[in-house]
């Protein structure tokens, strides 16, 4: 077990290093954007004196490296500065939105992950049958349709024509959990449709990839029934690629939901980011990007650890 712990800590360290590099990239990428922040905040009518004063106040006269270190030190303590537009603390502005996004992502993941793995196992078992082909076509369709299009189709049929679910996923504080689930069902379903295909196809491919292995042939020659060959003999060896693709899709659920949030007017972090970019609210942009990067790194780390934990060679060393 000590080996695994060491391996995980090593990966964690590498993840932190990556995050550090990404933070540099984010900070200086924003820095490279044309235009002067102080000018942008004050508008066209500002006098040069007021602009200069604001620059002084915002610390814009300091060298970029110094400002970066300052920002990084703040970020490490959870302080991303102040929004240029509203004057609100960035941390406060983001926290609620981020929780909303996490909720939606979890909602979608809880439905999508089990469904796609079970479906993947079933199509692997029934490979090259009609069921497999139909599933293939359907998942390809859902993968290739843009999510906003899927969203509008769902709104049309499940909200406008039949009125089962609300078309707009606005939230209020006094909702019960059941109401919350009902109100956010359509955006969650849209996300499920987008990510299921990818995960299902990968599960199918990972399993089928193993079917030529000698130990699968051995299982068949022991008279093991086909479903058991897949579930008991192939699946345990296919976890690593499946976990990887699941992690990738979970990351997408958090960082790639901008369009879905816009379609359903859902108060998530994606929408916040779009607004912030439009208004040149750089502290918020930087904080959002850093959160997205951290999400990606964390989920990939989880995938690595998952792959290690499902590998018997690493779990049971000689």
């Amino acid at each position: 077990m000590g080996d695994i712990l060491r391996l995980v800590l090593k990966r964690l360290g590498l993840g932190l290093l990556t995050l550090f590099v990404v933070s540099i990239l984010i900070f200086f990428a924003v820095e490279l954007l044309p235009g002067d922040i102080a000018q942008a905040v004050l508008g066209q009518s500002a006098t040069p004196e007021t602009v200069a004063a604001l620059r002084e106040q915002m610390g814009l006269n300091q060298p970029a490296v110094l400002r970066y270190l300052h920002w990084l030190a703040g970020a490490l303590t959870g302080d991303f500065g102040v929004s240029l537009v509203s004057g609100e603390r960035v941390t406060a502005a983001i926290t609620g939105r981020f929780i909303n996004t996490l909720f939606l992502a979890t909602y979608a993941a809880v439905i999508a992950v089990p469904i796609s793995i079970i479906l993947g196992v079933i199509v692997a078992l029934l490979r090259n049958t009609l069921f497999d082909r139909v599933a293939n076509v359907l998942t390809l369709t859902s993968i290739s349709s843009p999510e906003f299009f899927l969203g509008y189709i769902l709104i049309l049929y499940l909200a406008v024509k039949s009125n089962y679910f609300p078309a707009i996923a606005s939230l209020s504080g006094d909702m019960t959990f059941a109401e919350l689930l009902q109100r956010t069902f359509l955006p969650a379903l849209t996300l499920v449709l987008v990510v299921t295909a990818h995960m299902m196809r990968m599960t199918r491919a990972a399993i089928i990839n193993l079917l030529a292995s000698p130990y699968i042939e051995m299982a068949r020659l022991k008279g093991v029934p086909p479903w058991r060959v897949i579930v008991k003999h192939a699946l345990p060896n296919a976890w690593a690629p499946i976990i990887n693709v699941v992690a990738l899709n979970l990351a997408y659920l958090i960082t790639g939901v901008v369009l879905v949030e816009v379609v359903f007017v859902y108060p998530g972090i994606g929408q916040l980011l779009v607004d912030a970019v439009a208004k040149r609210d750089f502290p918020i942009v930087q904080a959002c990007c850093l959160i997205f990067a951290a999400t990606f790194i964390l989920l990939n780390l989880a995938a690595d650890v998952g792959a290690i934990l499902t590998n018997p060679r690493l779990r049971h060393p000689k």
């Binding site: 292995s213 130990y215 042939e217 060896n237």
Partner: protein
């Protein structure tokens, strides 16, 4: 034994087709086979003879991309070609079992050995889990596995190859089948390990009076195991006869040629004496390690121009590591390597082009050593260009010359790709690639062990001819002592990273030996059907397992 009632398996006019290039091609052309209860039939032939395909067909099974297209397979009165898949499945594992070539690949890495063992008995409701486990442990004990009560609870990667192969035989026995198909069960093992597996298989087949089909390409092995031998060639039967008769008096030319393979022998050379004699390669007291694991300990030997030095030992003994040290791929932690009396830099990156040119390698698996997407002309031309600076027409004529040397017609092979070639042809290309650099020394790393005996013999003859023509020195890494006997001048025996004995071949093959050399030599199967029995008696049955497990 051959009364009609006892017939367990009767195959008549079996035809099997394989799917390739968009059409079904017949690969087994009407083979007949009769097996009685408790009888062991040896199926032998080169690769592509259809041995495994026929073995699997005896279970009513065809691999993906193959189908049984004609004939009848009658197992204990049941016609398998017309039996539905679900009923066939009920036979597999319970009444007919299978032992695969590579136990390491055929045990599922995700489950403990005993769980895989008990899967069939539990599934067929022959035993409850606890009973099945008890039974497994007893079988492990009978097969002389160490710690029979505990070994099953390990994962496959935690157990050695020879032990896994015995565990797989135990697994095949789990439901006490009437018939077991052994598909080259010892091919992947060292000679020393092979013996214990052979002995274990023979004992257990005797004890339970199980019938078996024993598939192998090794005549000496089949001679120990089978009552009857059937020789196959390209999906057709050549001949069948009781073992003794087949060995003493083969009728067909093809069988005779198989029997004669091991007869190639070239005269042994002596190392030059006198003050001028400098070894072309001198390995002086090298140690090497992978990370913290020490794999070589004070290895020293010399190779003189024009001579073949065979380096022998079991897998993991450090043979290939020595080659890696000589070529500079793995810098030794101690000691030095000399070419022609000149000390080589330990790392290949620090060696000059001229130093690199002198030592070339030929690998075991020509399949993986040649890039499948690159034409033969480029594979051979690249080193000629790199070391010799040849270009254009000169390069082409050099490649043609090399192809001539390895007996492949230049006009036919010049622009082909490796996957279009047979195993033997690929290995020839590997040889040409090494020759292209004009080396004075070539390391041959198990170059014949992946090849059929007849093809391997061709390669050995070619290497011998090239050696005479160019005065090449070979370092011949092998675990096959028959090869050593036929081509080596000197022998170096390595055990666990140490040289235990070295000297001229004739001395090495005459007693007294170092105990380890003795173990290696006596473990090479001989054609005498009583060889295994005699050997086991000589060694005393009980210490076989220990001898090979050390």
């Amino acid at each position: 034994m051959s009364s009609k009632k006892d017939v367990l398996l009767k195959i008549t006019d079996l035809r099997i087709e394989g799917f390739s290039d968009e059409e079904w091609i017949e690969i087994v052309h009407g083979v007949d086979l009769t097996l009685h209860k408790g009888e062991v039939l040896g199926l032998i032939g080169e690769s592509g003879a259809g041995k495994s395909t026929i073995g699997l067909a005896a279970m009513g099974f065809a691999r993906d991309g193959c189908r049984i297209s004609g004939g009848s397979i009658e197992f204990d009165g049941m016609e398998l070609t017309t039996t539905p898949e679900s009923d066939l499945r009920a036979l597999r594992g319970s009444r007919i079992a299978y032992v695969a070539q590579s136990a390491a690949a055929s045990f599922n890495p995700a489950h403990r050995i005993i769980d895989q063992h008990t899967e069939a008995p539990i599934q067929y409701r022959i035993q409850k889990r606890m009973e099945a486990q008890e039974d497994a442990m007893q079988l492990y004990e009978r097969l002389r596995l160490p710690n029979p009560d505990e070994i099953g609870f390990r994962y496959p990667h935690q157990v050695s190859g020879g032990q896994l192969q015995r565990a797989m035989t135990a697994m095949a026995m789990a439901c006490r089948p009437d018939l077991i198909i052994f598909d080259e069960p010892t091919t992947a093992l060292d000679v020393t390990t092979q013996i214990e597996v052979l002995a274990a298989i023979r004992d257990i087949v005797d004890q339970f009076n199980t019938a078996a089909i024993y598939i192998t390409h090794d005549l000496a092995v089949v001679a120990q195991m089978a009552d009857t031998i059937k020789v196959l060639l390209k999906g057709e039967e050549v001949e069948e006869a009781p073992t003794e008769e087949m060995l003493d008096n083969p009728k067909e030319e093809y069988t005779k040629s198989l029997w004669a393979v091991r007869s190639f022998k070239r005269p042994q050379k002596r190392r030059p004496t006198g003050p001028d004699a400098t070894p072309i390669v001198s390995v002086q007291g090298i140690d090497a390690a992978y990370g913290p694991t020490k794999v070589l300990d004070d290895v020293s030997f010399d190779i003189y121009p024009g001579m073949t030095v065979a380096v022998v030992g079991e897998s993991g003994s450090g043979k290939s590591t020595t080659a890696r040290c000589i070529t500079g791929l793995l810098p030794p932690t101690k000691g030095q390597i000399l070419f022609n009396g000149e000390v080589m830099p330990p790392k290949y990156q620090d060696r000059t082009k001229e130093q690199l040119r002198q030592a070339q390698m030929i690998y075991q698996m020509a399949d993986t050593a040649l890039n499948p997407k690159i034409r033969i002309s480029e594979i051979i031309g690249r080193p000629a260009q790199f070391y010799g600076g040849l270009k254009g027409a000169k390069l082409k004529s050099r490649v043609d010359e090399l192809l001539d040397l390895i007996e492949l017609e230049p006009s036919k092979f010049y622009s082909r790709y490796p996957p279009e070639l047979s195993g033997g042809q690929k290995q020839r290309v590997g040889i040409a690639r090494a020759l292209a650099a004009n080396p004075s020394f070539i390391i041959c790393d198990e170059v014949t062990s992946a090849l059929d005996q007849l093809v391997a013999e061709g390669i050995l003859k070619l290497l011998d001819r090239l050696q005479q023509e160019f005065n090449l020195a070979y370092m011949f890494i092998t675990h096959d002592l028959a090869t050593v006997r036929s081509i080596a001048d000197e022998v170096v025996v390595i055990q666990r990273g140490k040289v235990v004995e070295q000297g001229p071949k004739d001395e090495m093959f005459t007693p007294p030996h170092h105990p380890y050399t003795d173990l290696l030599l006596s473990s090479v199967p001989e054609m005498d059907p009583n060889w295994l029995t005699t050997l086991l008696e000589e060694r005393g049955v009980d210490d076989i397992g220990e001898a090979a497990d050390v």
